[in-house]
Symmetry: C2
Subunit: 186 residues, 2 copies
């Protein structure tokens, strides 16, 4: 299947709140900027960014059924917060629904929230674009934005560090892929 | 094999610096206190605490050889800082050298630095005694000490949280067992 940036955005639009769609458009722009800078396929970056939050507002029970039923979705997701499910479940649903078959895009959508041990450049770009797009405003984001201009890996490490510190300070669990990703950047 | 607190302390003494031996004696006292409070076998707590740092000053290459050679020692230790090796390698050497065969004590020595996913009460007590013994003085230790008087699990969670934040702020790797232990306490 081949899909353009506009087709991808139109496909996800009815599934998102307006504010989330605006965020998605900013992630697309940010991803394109990073893709140019780090020499990653711009078309793939656009489509992955446009689709990354497709399952953000899917019903939790529906997502749970997919995780239980499909052997490709990791079962340990069920032990962690359902906020983490929309990446892998969204990628999976897009395979089923629109025949998304680009493994690079599927991987980037799937890992955009948690990161994972072995991240491709496209994975890193979608993860980072989602973290630093101009609408984001949380402690440490400016430092990550600045680092993203010169060092993709170091920017990812900083974002993962901030995420881990945020979660453990709040007394929340950390999905294993997140700390595997963090360790991989050290 | 049966071994007393005094025998265990005399066995480790020549393997430790004086300051580390003093720390060990304080860990024994702290572990006994926690064992009384949380109704854990005091003899086991004494011996595990006395032996916990046995391999602290073993030669790094010697420890590496054991990790490479023995199938019971996890190979992924080699991907992480050698400071983490003395627990599992020490437990393993004590099995070989003095016939230590108490699986509870072996587990507690093995996991005292990193924690692990499924910690017994004895594991928790040795981990925590090592963290809060009165000679320890680092940010957050007083809060953990206080919590240890009323809630063993919560005190462990706080200690693991502090450890993870310390490591990621320093840009250091975090051994997966530490994250698994942390998540298990949430």
């Amino acid at each position: 299947m081949e899909i353009s940036r506009e087709q991808a955005l139109q496909y996800v639009k009815p599934h998102l709140k307006a504010s989330r769609f605006d965020h998605t458009v900013r992630v697309v722009d940010q991803a394109v900027e990073l893709a140019k800078q780090y020499k990653v396929d711009i078309d793939k970056a656009e489509v992955a960014a446009a689709l990354h939050d497709y399952a953000k507002y899917k019903d939790v029970d529906e997502m749970k059924r997919w995780i239980v039923q499909d052997r490709r979705l990791p079962k340990d997701l069920l032990d962690y917060h359902h906020e983490l499910w929309h990446g892998p479940v969204g990628a999976f649903m897009l395979e089923k629904e629109i025949g998304l078959d680009d493994v690079d895009i599927i991987s980037a959508i799937s890992s955009h929230t948690t990161g994972k041990k072995h991240m491709s450049k496209l994975d890193k770009i979608i993860f980072l674009a989602d973290y630093i797009e101009p609408g984001r405003d949380f402690p440490g984001v400016d430092e990550v934005r600045q680092k993203a201009e010169s060092d993709l890996d170091e920017a990812c490490r900083m974002a993962l560090k901030n995420t881990i510190v945020f979660l453990v300070e709040k007394g929340r669990t950390v999905y294993p892929d997140t700390f595997h990703a963090y360790n991989a950047f050290i």
